[in-house]
Each structure stands twice: as structure tokens, then as C-alpha cells.
């Protein structure tokens, strides 16, 4: 009797286990693996799912792999070990959560906006396009308040922190709701632009971003990155709630830790062009600190340590979104950050020493900034970065493709198949000297040096074009539009700082190249070649930086003109003309 009872009990336990697996989490679901899984929650939730519901998956069923005909009874949830995406029936878009060690945290929502208005629609249908352990992709159909329908495809791949959104029929813009304390427009070669609450004098800020931007939130523990395919797509940061800057409010008050200045972004949709949103989560992902004057002038250790090895970016914040940027120097890393600013090369304003982040700001830097608020975040990985850790440049590679390091040259139309930049050419030339092959390779050395000098000349000409453009904007604006005029002045100033050097960079590059050629016939000339190489590379670094600064400023001019036109109808004609000219300058290669 006892054994029968025991057997029945065991059978019951086994039966309930099978049922629970099937009902709760699906027979094949393996939590914590990088694979992608698609669930049907069985019933629709009226509000965003909470952490407990996401963890228990009560009532959820796994949609079988390659089961593309599935009809959802409840909400659609797809996930991997890093991210959860929820598409709620009657919801306004996809809610994106980060899978953290403690509990899932909602970090963003991706909502389609129709051309007819700013109110997102509600989800009326979701169909499966791709469903396997490598990727899940759904088409979501929304009905707008005006009765229109629009379609948006969402895709998540295994192990990634990126959600891809492909705007379809009826979508005019993608609204990315992601509260952020700062919005950063990084520039790999020049200075970043960083916008905080103090830069919000209007509800919508047109960003000077070419293809991506970052939102920093949750007191250093969250970042959301948005990437779009075409530089023609407009990106707008949307202010968070009411509460404009109040007169007389101190910087410290406005920099309340965790206060979100931005509600998110709107990215203009473009036909067949994807928009990607990546969510990063972890302690110390970014750090902002107001440096006391004495610390800024001396050497101060930040109240922050890097949570992982990477190329960490430091932005000394100025007003109006401007910043002075460089990479932290890491003496333990195999290579310093690429294209660090001249200031950084000269004296390492920021460096890691014994695991601490040390800042040494020259007086002129502090004076230029007006205040010493420093923002730190990881931009690119180094060889030592853990494999499973992603940096923004990883996301760029995963979305736009490899080659972001060539970004400024490609954007400016200066990249070529052989790419004879000073760095590339001198690396090759130095190898010939190191192998004592300089005589045998003399013709190739001369040819490549010629190409390098021509390349510097082209870049210098382009920078001079920017300088002329800056002057043109100043003349056009006069006293009528001081904001635009000041940006024109900064373009002219940055261009002149590069082009007005004596001798001019192209001439200097030519002189140095001639000296390299002279070394070809000499013995033991390797060290002399390396010395010349360092000088030639410095020209290249300055050129990249000047070009990047001018381009960023021209983009900011274009956006500022658009905002001026919206804010002040009396300036609309002038602002429109500046926009047209800025567009022409950016588009002319």
C-alpha cells in the first residue's frame, strides 16, 4: 500500500514537473544561455511586466523554433542572456530590459511614430519572421490614434545587447524612450559633444550626430546607444518632463545625481534602413565629477575606477554642448587610444596609475572650460577588454560594419583603397628600414611618400574649405544671429589653427618626406627614420582632429540653424540659408 502510494506520489510529482516546464518556461528553454528564445505569455499584460513576472515566466510558452505561423494569445517576449524585449498587445512599442544580476531593469522602449502625430499607436498584431536560437525577428503592426497603421520589425540576436528596429510601412520616426542624464555625441578623432540639463533651453534638441549617440543614466550604471544607418536621418533628443532651467540655479543643483534631463530620442526613419538600440548595464559604466579648482590644477584621483580595461574617454564639459576630449592613457595597455588629442599626447591630462583614474588639467584647459566637470565613459575596447564586454565601437562594428576607425576619412571622402595616411605609410616605410630593405624598396618608398604628401594636401585643402565656410557663415549672420555666428567663428578658428601653421602642414609633410628619402642611402638610419615618422604622424593626427572638429561644428551649425528657425520665425529665412549652406558643405567632398 505504502509503495503504491509512493509510486502515485512520484508519478504526480513527475507529471506536475512536466506540466510546469511546459507551461512555465517551455520544454527546451535554457535560462542564462546566449541563445535567443521567443515566448508567448499566454495572456496580455495591461502594463509593463515587472521583474518578478519576467523571472517566473508563469504561464509562458516557448514558441517552437522556426515556428513562423504562431498566433500569439498573449504578449510576445523574446530574449537572450543580456536583453529581454516585450511586445505587449495594446502596448505602444517594444519594452527593452537589461538582464542584470539582481533583476531585469527596463532601459528603453522603442515606439513607432507616424507622420500624422507625436502619439505612438498600440500594438494590434505581431507575426514571427525568424525564430531560432541565433535570432528572433518579429513584425509588429500598430494602430495610431488617427486610425493609421504602421509596421516595425524588431530583431534580437544571440548574446547581443542590441535590438534592431526596421521601420516599415507608415513609420516616420522611431521614438526611443530612454531617460538619460547626459546625451553624448562621440567623435573618434575630434572632441565629443555632451548635452546635459543645462543645455536644454527648448523641448527638443537636434543632435549633431552622424550615425550614433549615447544616453547615460542611472548614476553611472546604464548606457543606451542608438545607431542609425544614414547620416541623412535626423536625430532629436527630447527633453524630460517640464522643468526648464531656472534662472540663478547653480550647476550643482542642476547636476542632481540620477536626474534625467532627457526622455529619449526620435530618429527619423529612412526606407530600408535599420535603427539599432543597445543597452549596457553595470556599475561604473560612466562617471561624472565636478573637480575642485585645486584638484583640476594639480593631480586629482577621481572617485571612480574603471570596471574593466578599455579605451576610456574623458570629456571636460564646456557650455552649449562643447567638450574637450581625450582618451585616458593606460601605461599597462598594449596601445594607447587612437588619435588622442595633442594635449593628451603632450601631457596625459587623464591617465590610469595603480588602478586609479588620475586627472591633471593644465590651467588653460580649466580656464577654457569655465568649470571643471569631467565625464568619463568607455568608447572602444582594448586587447585586454574581456570578451563578453561590449563598448560602443563594438556596437558600431556589429551594426554598421567594420571600419569605424576610418570613419572621418570615409565621411569626408578622403579614404582610398591604399589609404596613404601618414601613419599607414610611415609604418610601412619604417618596416623597410628595419629590415634593411630601404634600397631595394626605394621606388615604392618614394611613391608611397608622394601619395602621403598628396593625402595631407587634400586634407589641408578640405580643412581650408571649412575655414572659408566658417567665414562665410560669420558674414552671412553678422549681428543678426549671434549663436550661428559663434559656431561659424569656431569653425574658422579650428581650421586656421591647422592651416596657418608655418610651414603649412602639406609643405612640412613634403619636407619631412624628402628627408626620409635622403635616409635611403645611409647606414644605421632606422632611428632617424623613426624620428621623422613621429613628426609625420603628428601631422596626420592634427589633420584628423582638425577635420573632425570642423565637421562636428558644421553639423552642430546645421542643427542649431534648424532649431533657430523653429524658435524664431523672424530668423527663419536666415537660418534656412545657413542650413542649406551647411548641408552643401557637409555633402561636398
Amino acid at each position: 500500500m505504502k509503495s503504491t502510494t509512493l509510486a502515485i506520489a512520484l508519478l504526480w510529482i513527475a507529471f506536475t514537473q512536466v506540466c510546469l516546464r511546459g507551461k512555465a518556461a517551455g520544454a527546451d528553454y535554457e535560462p542564462g544561455t546566449p541563445a535567443t528564445w521567443l515566448f508567448d505569455t499566454g495572456s496580455s499584460s495591461p502594463g509593463p511586466l515587472n521583474a518578478a513576472g519576467l523571472a517566473s515566466k508563469s504561464g509562458w510558452r516557448v514558441v517552437p523554433e522556426d515556428g513562423l505561423a504562431h498566433q500569439f494569445r498573449g504578449d510576445a517576449v523574446f530574449l537572450n542572456d543580456r536583453v529581454i524585449v516585450v511586445l505587449r498587445r495594446r502596448g505602444a512599442g517594444a519594452e527593452v530590459y537589461c538582464q542584470t544580476a539582481a533583476a531585469p531593469k527596463m532601459r528603453a522602449a522603442l515606439l513607432p511614430l507616424a507622420a500624422s502625430g507625436d502619439e505612438p499607436g498600440v500594438l494590434v498584431n505581431a507575426t514571427v519572421l525568424e525564430n531560432n536560437l541565433g535570432a528572433v525577428m518579429l513584425t509588429a503592426t500598430f494602430r495610431t490614434p488617427g486610425g493609421d497603421t504602421c509596421e516595425l520589425r524588431y530583431r534580437l540576436t544571440a548574446g547581443q545587447v542590441i535590438v534592431e528596429a526596421q521601420p516599415g510601412k507608415g513609420v516616420d520616426r522611431l521614438l526611443v524612450r530612454c531617460p538619460a542624464r547626459y546625451v553624448v555625441v562621440p567623435d573618434f578623432f575630434g572632441d565629443d559633444m555632451v548635452f546635459g540639463s543645462e543645455d536644454l533651453s527648448r523641448p527638443r534638441l537636434q543632435l549633431p550626430a552622424e550615425n550614433f549617440c549615447l544616453g547615460l543614466s542611472d548614476q553611472g550604471s546604464a548606457e543606451v546607444m542608438c545607431v542609425w544607418q544614414s547620416s541623412r536621418q535626423q536625430a532629436v533628443a527630447v527633453r524630460s518632463g517640464p522643468g526648464l532651467r531656472e534662472e540663478g540655479q547653480a550647476d550643482e543643483e542642476r547636476e542632481t545625481p540620477g536626474a534625467a534631463a532627457f526622455a529619449g530620442w526620435e530618429i527619423q526613419a529612412d526606407k530600408d534602413k535599420s535603427i539599432w538600440v543597445a543597452c549596457f548595464d553595470g556599475t561604473g559604466l560612466w562617471h561624472q565629477q565636478v573637480l575642485a579648482t585645486k584638484d583640476a590644477l594639480g593631480a586629482a584621483a577621481l572617485d571612480w575606477k574603471p570596471p574593466f580595461a578599455a579605451k576610456w574617454r574623458a570629456d571636460l564639459l564646456r557650455t552649449g554642448g562643447a567638450a574637450t576630449s581625450w582618451f585616458f592613457h593606460d601605461p599597462d595597455a598594449s596601445k594607447d587610444g587612437p588619435a588622442a588629442s595633442e594635449t593628451a599626447v603632450a601631457g596625459y591630462p587623464c591617465c590610469f596609475e595603480g588602478g586609479r583614474a588620475i586627472v591633471r588639467l593644465a590651467p588653460e584647459l580649466q580656464a577654457a572650460a569655465g568649470r571643471s566637470s569631467l565625464l568619463v565613459y568607455a568608447l572602444d575596447r582594448s586587447r585586454e577588454t574581456p570578451l563578453a564586454t561590449f563598448c560602443p565601437i563594438d556596437i558600431l562594428r556589429n551594426t554598421l560594419g567594420v571600419g569605424p576607425c576610418q570613419y572621418i576619412l570615409q565621411t569626408e571622402g578622403l579614404a582610398t583603397e591604399t589609404n596613404p595616411t601618414p601613419d599607414n605609410v610611415m609604418t610601412w616605410v619604417e618596416k623597410q628600414f628595419a629590415r634593411n630593405r630601404q634600397k631595394k624598396s626605394a621606388d615604392e618608398i618614394r611613391e608611397l611618400l608622394d601619395q602621403m604628401v598628396a593625402h595631407v594636401g587634400h586634407a589641408q585643402a578640405r580643412i581650408e574649405q571649412y575655414g572659408s565656410f566658417g567665414r562665410e557663415v560669420c558674414n552671412l549672420c553678422g549681428e543678426k544671429a549671434p549663436v550661428l555666428r559663434s559656431i561659424g567663428e569656431s569653425i574658422e578658428r579650428d581650421a586656421a589653427a591647422f592651416s596657418n601653421r608655418t610651414p603649412p602642414p602639406a609643405k612640412l609633410a613634403s619636407q619631412l618626406a624628402e628627408q626620409v628619402v635622403v635616409l635611403i642611402g645611409r647606414k644605421n638610419s632606422m632611428s632617424a627614420c623613426e624620428k621623422l615618422g613621429a613628426e609625420i604622424r603628428q601631422i596626420g593626427a592634427s589633420e584628423d582632429r582638425a577635420l573632425a572638429r570642423c565637421r562636428m561644428a558644421a553639423r552642430w551649425l546645421r542643427q542649431s540653424a534648424a532649431m533657430l528657425a523653429e524658435d524664431d520665425s523672424s530668423q527663419a529665412a536666415l537660418a534656412g540659408e545657413v542650413q542649406v549652406r551647411a548641408e552643401r558643405m557637409l555633402g561636398t567632398k
Binding site: T33, P34, A35, E65, D66, N132, L133, G134, A135, T157, A158, G159, Q160, D380, R381, S382, R383, T385, P386, L387, A388, T389, F390, C391, I393, D394, R397, N398, G401, V402, G403, C405, T418, N424, T427, W428, K431, Q432, A434, R435, R437
Partner: protein
Amino acid sequence: MKNFRVGSVVALMLYFGVPAALAAEPADSSSAVAPGLIVFSSDRSGPWRIWSVRPDGSGLRALTEATPDENDVDPVFSPDGKSILFSSTRGGEVGLWKLSLGGNKPERICDGDQAEWSADGRRIAFRRQERIYVRDLVGGGERCISPADWPHCSGPAWSPDGKRIAFACRWDAGNAIFLVDSEGGQPTKVYDKQGACEPHWSPDGTRIVYETETHIATIAPDGTKNRLVTYFGGVQRYGRFSPDGKSIVYCQGASERGPWELYIIPAQGGTPALLTEGNSDMNPDWH
């Protein structure tokens, strides 16, 4: 889009040269004939050379030597593991070379690169002028099996049953992986998303490992059951199955410019193990 595919490595090396040579003694290649061996190309000794290492990281040694101006890349084991094919700039022209691991000197086969053996070892598939060819190793007869109007074909990989060849083709819109009958014919598409290229078969022929723009993935030959194997930061390239199909060796780079290190990861995905480091190690093959 990825501009540099496997064969472009040779052009890249020719253009940018290689670091100063370090002392590197070619090993007695006869002792490298053993199961569980990985061959790869490396610039750890200066010029690009073919090296081998055991899957546990031991036994690292150079298999080829040449003049400093000559570079060897893309090694592939013969089905019996006694020879390797590789691409080389020896003699000034990019060509395919065969090295018997029994100790003979490398033998030039023909112009071309990116070669792979048929399962019976009698033929090779390779790339020449961005088209895919099959060559009879005994008679020397050749046949182009990629359509004449397909512009940028690369990376042929022969199925274990010898019937089909997987290869990649690049269009303006991106890369895609195709299958074509080994006798030629109309290719069928396997996968065309995320810059898919560099296909290579599993030993049982049920999976194809390939690379996306930045990661290693596997897929069934009919285009179903797509699986991302690596999902790490940086760039992962050149995935190749182990002889038992349970693991994949691949290259990991901090960026698309390298430097490249070899890692081994379970074929289903998982935690990778570092196999080599130091300079750049690329194009692994495992027998």
C-alpha cells in the same frame, strides 16, 4: 562591408609588409603528422608563415620557411592529414602550394588562393580572379564552377560527401553564402544576412560554420537553424570545425585590424579558451 576577405590577406601583406623577423626555426615537419593538430598562418616570426599547434596549446612550431619577402597563408589539411595546401607569394605570384608533412619541399600547383581539398583528396577547389575553380590534381584539368556573371566569389569549401561546394559571393548589397554542385550548375543561396561569408563544413556535413560581419555562426546547409557561436566584443573570424565536430577554432581580434589570437569554443557556443597569442595568428585549420 568587409573589404578584406581571406585571399586579400596576401595583398595586404604585400602592401604593408611584415614586422622584423625574429629567430624562428622551422620544425621537423614529419613530427607534426598527428591527430588533433591545428595549422594556421602567423606573423610571429616576421613574415607570414604556416605554423602548427596542438589543440592544448603545446607543440607550437613553424612548418614553412622562405625568404623574408615571401608570405605563406591559408593552410588547409589534406583529408589524410599528410599534406597541407596553402597560398603563397613565393616567386612573386600569388599561387597555391602543397607541402607534404613528410618533409618534402613545397610544390607549386597553380595560380590562385583560398584552396580546399575534395574529400577524396584528388581535386581541389580554389579562387582565381574572384571566381571559383575546381582542379584535378593528377591531370591538371580545371573547371570554373561559379557563374560567369557573378563578380566577387571567394572561400570555396567542399562538402564532406564531395557533392557540393559552399562559397561566398559579394554584391553591392552585401555578402551571401551559396552552395553549388561540385560539377558546376546554378548555385542556391544558404544565407545572405550580416555579411555572411567564409563557409566551412562540419565533418558530418550537417552544419556550415561561417562568419558574419563580426561573429562566427553555424547554419544548416538548407539555411535553417542559424546559430551564433560567438557573440563577443571585437571581431571573430575564420571559424573551422574540429575533426569530431564538437569544437570550433577561430580568430579573435580587438578590432578588424587585429592583432589576432586563436581561440577554441564548443561548436554549440560557450566559453572560449585562448589557444595562441603574440603577434597575429590567422586562418586556422584543424585535422
